[in-house]
Amino acid sequence: MSVDIGAALQGIHAALPAAKVAMRTNPGPSNQHSLLVGNESLVDVLRFLRDHLDFDLLSNVSGVDWPDPAKADAVAVFGEGEETAREHGFLEVVYHLYSTSRRVGPLVLRARSADRGENACVPSVVSVFRSAEFQEREIFDLYGVIFTGHPDLRRILMWDEFVDHPMRKDYVAPDDYEYEPTPHDDVLVKAKRHYPAES
């Protein structure tokens, strides 16, 4: 059963008047609209949803990289509003909440970092939902989002000595191209770098 996101928003506004929460409409046919939550109130909002609206299952936490804010505008999930006036790109974390008792969901929440550099911080929600523990570590590993307050923020999939964040859009993988008999498309571009053509 799909969730009544307007009621959830009203509930949050009533209980946490200071929280910055704004609705983001999803233009696609999936009818899954989301709530953009300010970083300072993210943990409180999640705790409120868990304790008072019975959203007890944090199913999924995704990281998204938006290096180009114009692109984020074009994808209208990010719709109108003050956020579109950004100059640099940012990293985003998307939460999907379900209620096992009321059997509704998903309630989609999003939080954003200030930029993609040193301030790529989003508060950790592990204190409210344990299920975020490994997923936040994964997002830290692959996107470089720093989850403030995470109890054990280490790399999870790549090795500890690794320095890059490979899921970012601007990541360049190490070039370990090898011989391929019939190069074409992207592989041909690589082949041109590695093997000279017969003249």
């Binding site: 999936s30 999907h96 490994f134 999939l157």
Partner: protein
């Protein structure tokens, strides 16, 4: 460490009074017969007792999500086969379901029935193989697995007949399936469904009262319901603890509303319950299969309006999930209107079910860790992606 009064967090990593010099640090895996692939755990032992357990992931991290962002939507379908490689067809369905939600594609009735049949056969394969593997973890190395793989081969023959591949089916398409059932396939499947019950009886006869199984599994690895839900545990693990949450009933997708079946629930949530839940789920799967085969309608096997080449879903995002054999398998897709997904995320049940592994193992013996890990039923292709 942060704490929250309403929810338990990890127990202290050292037992009170434990002397660090006396502790034994064991690195279990990545090459270990009981870690189901290349999973690794750093275990700290006080004598035989586990005082800390830290999973180490990534030994099979093969960049599924990154690769998927660089290829078209349909090109990711064969990669989903390789996520949870014991049950490729469920993964196919989950992904097709997510893209159908993203683009608003209708699925014809016959295709829905085919999907249900294939997904439930996959559940049979997964749970049967699970029986073999967990018995192997308890020391019955090989013999239980022999029985399990004997039956698995019969189902794989059906898959091969239909899709041309034993394991990596690449069968679902957005809006249906790749091809229709070949002549006589439904009849063969029907015979298999009839014969599967006696096999389950046989397997159950060997296991239910088995003294070793009882001694090793009962009262091992329980956690309170609330902690399990909070930890994101889904699937048979959660239902073994008595939480009535199966996506087939809670948020029916496909045509599951049409079938009459029950959701088996456990009582204590120990490893024994987790094994028995899977037995009962297989019996319910057989019921669904029987109904689906009897009702299987004629018609299209794929929506003729669904576009295969140059498929571009509208701008937007979607999160869709199905009840995979291991738990909630979800896909989160963001489309920017091009042929490639802007963001492609898999919500892997095996990975998230491991969140509470340490909590389940603390204070138990090292030998119990192997059973608990076996009862979670992980597949590394999905854990690390």
């Amino acid at each position: 460490m942060i704490s929250d009064s309403s929810m338990p967090y990890s127990a202290p990593t050292l037992a009170p009074g434990a002397d660090d010099d006396q502790l034994l640090h064991v690195s279990l895996g990545p090459q270990h017969p009981s870690t189901h692939g290349v999973f690794r755990m750093n275990v700290v032992l006080d004598g035989e007792t586990v005082v800390s357990l830290k999973p180490v992931f990534g030994y099979l991290h093969r960049n599924h999500e990154k690769i998927a962002e660089g290829v078209t939507y349909l090109s990711s379908m064969p990669y989903t086969d390789r996520l949870d490689y014991i049950c490729p067809l469920s993964n196919n369905w989950a992904y097709a379901h997510a893209v159908e939600k993203l683009a608003g594609i209708e699925v014809p009735e016959r295709a829905e029935y085919m999907r249900v049949i294939l997904a439930e056969l996959t559940r049979l394969i997964n749970h049967t193989a699970f029986m073999g593997f967990i018995l192997g973890d308890m020391g019955a190395w090989g013999s239980a697995l022999m029985y399990a793989f004997r039956e698995r081969e019969l189902i794989l023959d059906l898959f091969e007949d239909l899709t041309g591949a034993r394991m990596m089916a690449n069968f679902m398409r957005f809006g249906g399936c790749r091809n229709d059932l070949p002549a006589g396939w439904a009849e063969k499947c029907s015979v298999l469904v009839d014969d599967y019950g006696p096999f389950l009886d046989e397997m159950e006869k060997f296991l239910v009262g088995n003294e070793i199984l009882l001694a090793r599994c009962q009262d091992v690895g329980q956690l309170p319901k609330e902690t399990l839900i909070n930890g994101g545990i889904t699937g048979p693990m959660l239902r073994a603890a008595g939480v009535n949450y199966d996506i087939r009933k809670a948020e029916p997708y496909g045509i599951y509303e049409r079938f009459s079946f029950r959701i088996p629930l456990g009582d204590k949530g120990d490893c024994y319950d987790r094994i028995m839940i899977r037995f009962l789920e297989m019996r319910e799967s057989l019921k669904i299969l029987r109904q689906a085969l009897d009702q299987l309608p004629e018609g299209e096997y794929v929506n003729p309006k669904a576009k295969i080449r140059g498929f571009k879903p509208p701008v937007g995002e979607a999160y869709a999930r199905i009840e995979g054999p291991k738990g909630e398998l979800g896909f989160h897709l963001i489309s920017d209107g091009t042929v490639n997904p802007y963001r492609y995320r898999v919500r892997p049940p095996s990975f998230i079910n491991l969140t509470l592994l340490e909590d389940m193992c603390l204070g138990l013996d090292l030998a119990d860790v192997v059973i608990i890990l076996g009862s979670i039923d992980i597949v590394l292709g999905e854990v690390d992606r």
